[in-house]
């Protein structure tokens, strides 16, 4: 099994198994089915977006606007439903709004050629501003029961819709990245866009597809968030982009592009979720939880660099 994993992924697997063992021995409630579902459910929107963010970062781009698009889509849904729009229609409008937001990103990045860091940073502010204008300083709720049921109750047995979506997208996007022609283009462009362009790849098209997909999935997750909590505010999903990017980087995806796997990101997600859940069940306060995860991330960024440095020095000596 481990033969198929990179050394980094093997390390992640070990950390994950250690976390599982710790949780199971110190928190008796940890292994219950409901807790295992809650563990995913409490962060489900972030982890779904992390899947598509993996493709974006492997492509040597970044999308900082995902959380603002989630917020915008949730706010728009709250606004439309409270203005009397049928919820089904409101959902379609919100997904369309997500596509429009993605198109704005895509045109500026892939056609005009502005770096995605700059474009999506601007849109992080812009889309969040729109969300705040729609909801103002209040919260909007009163969604139809079928919407909140979809967000809060099990669809197949105890498993809710959003969790099914997560696993479906995990497989779908994993196959796309590692087993399809499009995925190979994503990786080649991420390794060296210039070379890819000279080899005849349609770089702009691949990037356009990625930013459209990223925005569409973010808009969908904004709706899932609204349904799960039953009401939305202007600051819904504020700051989520950092958690999402963190999950992807801990998964071993290179911020410079070209390298990374869906397996690594999945393991990274499992580690963060299980750590949070275990610490919660052990009654650790929010400050300690943030501290522990912070230390883990610092270590995860430092370790590979130190190792590379060490290897380079050894080679020089030899």
């Amino acid at each position: 099994m481990t033969r198929f994993l990179t050394p980094w992924e093997t390390g992640l697997l070990a950390v994950f198994l250690a976390t599982l063992a710790l949780n199971a021995s110190f928190a008796p409630e940890f292994l219950t089915v409901q807790n295992q579902i809650n563990l995913f459910q409490l962060h489900i929107e972030k982890i779904i977006v992390a899947l598509v963010m993996t493709l974006v970062i492997v492509n040597a781009e970044i999308d900082l606007s995902v959380a603002s698009i989630m917020g915008l889509s949730a706010a728009l849904f709250g606004y439309l439903v409270n203005a009397g729009t049928p919820a089904g229609l409101a959902i379609l409008v919100c997904l369309a709004a997500g596509l429009v937001a993605g198109a704005v990103n895509a045109v500026l990045i892939a056609r005009v050629g502005i770096p995605s860091l700059v474009v999506t940073l601007a849109m992080l502010i812009g889309f969040r501003g729109l969300a705040r204008v729609l909801v103002k300083d209040t919260s909007l709720g009163n969604f139809p029961t079928w919407v909140t049921d979809l967000g809060q109750k099990g669809l197949i047995g105890p498993i809710p819709l959003s969790l099914l979506l997560f696993f479906a997208l995990l497989i779908l996007l994993g196959m796309t990245l590692h087993r399809s022609g499009f995925g190979r283009q994503v990786i080649v462009i991420g390794t060296n866009a210039e070379v890819a362009r000279f080899s005849g790849l349609n770089v702009a098209k691949v990037k356009t597809v990625l930013f459209l997909l990223s925005a569409l999935i973010s808009a969908l997750c904004g709706l899932l968030y609204a349904a799960r909590l039953g009401s939305v505010r202007g600051d819904t999903a504020l700051g989520f982009e950092l958690d999402i990017i963190t999950m992807v980087l801990l998964g071993g995806v290179s911020i410079f592009g070209g390298k990374g796997s869906m397996v690594g990101v999945f393991l990274s997600i499992l580690i963060i979720l299980n750590l949070r859940n275990g610490m919660g069940l052990m009654n650790l306060t929010g400050h300690i939880q943030t501290g522990v995860i912070g230390v883990l991330l610092i270590a995860s960024v430092l370790l590979p660099n130190l190792l590379a440095d060490f290897r380079a020095r050894k080679r020089k000596d030899a």
Binding site: N38, S139, Q152, G230, R233, G280, T290
Partner: protein, 347 residues
């Protein structure tokens, strides 16, 4: 067998009878039972919530609960999502009762309903669930209507009866602050306040730096501003410090809800001559007593039930006038602090 059943039925009937007789009298919960409880404030790291914890611990020791009382909370910047996560985890742990100062508005209602369905009671204090969904009852520090009047009166006094004032609140979804501001707006409709003008409501999210900047922003935006009213212990200190740092205390007075220990210097130097508050220690103490009674089944959380709360005496569950369909236990009253009494209270 028949006899036994009849006997049981009789005993049950007697118990019901005794139960209903007891309803008229205040109920005192039997001490020494096992109640596992979580005190969940909006976030950790500010004095009022530590004081509430001290009161709750005092009550737990007094009642001799053989269960645990945990004091856990999220970080301020992750307050809403963190509270939802912690309430969900408490449900998983099968805690008997969670005492919640809600900072997530109605977004926490689904998690609270799930908790109740799994047998974990949710009692709110300090800040309720606006819709009342998923909440057994709310332990209110003071009558929300009377806070509105006191805030209007303090603004009136400090502005000299006329002029512009603004509100610096906590987070936009803090149910308690929102209710007080609404009540203040109601009070301002009175003839007495016709020359007093509320020009803006801004939110510092109970973060010192953000509140400080929002206070300065108000002064820049409204050159004729006379009073900043901050119904939050974080906001009022930040605003008072901002006015002091900028040398504006002669022009703009700060008031609202604050802790004497944190406000004493600003009250004595005239930056915040008048503010109000209640005891958070007592609020924590009463909340634990009420929650213990509820978790042990001594009370059911229905309107009209009365219970004793140790040194604080007898309390009654009633309809919450501010939230149709929801119930509250009213603590009250509060104290207005000035330079005459602030030093004594600060120690």
């Amino acid at each position: 067998m028949m006899m036994k059943l009849t006997g049981l039925a009789f005993a049950a009937g007697l118990a019901t009878l005794m139960g209903s007789t007891a309803m008229a009298e205040p109920v005192t919960a039997t001490p020494g039972q096992q109640v596992n409880a979580v005190l969940l404030p909006k976030f950790l790291g500010i004095l009022p919530f530590d004081q509430a914890n001290r009161g709750a611990q005092e009550a737990a020791a007094e009642l001799g609960s053989t269960g645990k009382l945990e004091f856990i909370g999220p970080t301020p910047e992750n307050s809403a999502a963190g509270q939802i996560e912690m309430l969900t985890n408490a449900t998983t742990q099968k805690q008997n009762v969670v005492m919640l100062s809600n900072n997530a508005g109605d977004q926490i209602a689904p998690a609270a309903e799930a908790a109740q369905a799994a047998g974990t009671r949710v009692v709110t204090w300090d800040s309720p669930i606006p819709s009342g969904k998923g909440e057994s009852f709310f332990v209110a520090q003071v009558d929300f209507g009377s806070i509105g009047t006191v805030m209007a009166d303090m603004a009136y006094d400090l502005a000299g009866g006329a002029g512009e004032f603004a509100v610096l609140s906590a987070s936009p979804d803090a149910a308690n602050q929102n209710a007080w501001i609404d009540m203040m707006k109601e009070a301002l409709k009175g003839d007495k306040y016709k020359d007093l003008k509320l020009v803006d409501v801004v939110y510092g999210n109970d973060q010192s730096e953000e509140s400080y900047n929002k206070a300065l922003g108000l002064v820049d935006k409204y050159p004729d501003l006379k009073v900043i009213m901050a119904p939050t212990t974080v906001g009022i200190v930040a605003a008072a410090k901002a006015m002091q740092d900028e040398g504006l205390c002669e022009k703009v007075k700060v008031s609202g809800l604050g802790l004497p220990a944190e406000m004493v210097s600003y009250t004595l130097n005239g930056c915040a001559p008048q503010f109000a508050l209640w005891s958070f220690v007592d609020l924590g103490y009463l909340t634990y007593h009420a929650s213990y009674a509820l978790a042990t089944g001594a009370i059911k959380g229905e309107v009209g039930e009365e219970f004793t709360a140790g040194r604080m005496g007898t309390f009654k569950i009633e309809e919450d006038p501010g939230r149709p369909g929801a119930r509250r236990v009213l603590m009250g009253p509060f104290t207005v602090y000035t330079k005459d009494n602030v030093e004594a209270a600060a120690n």
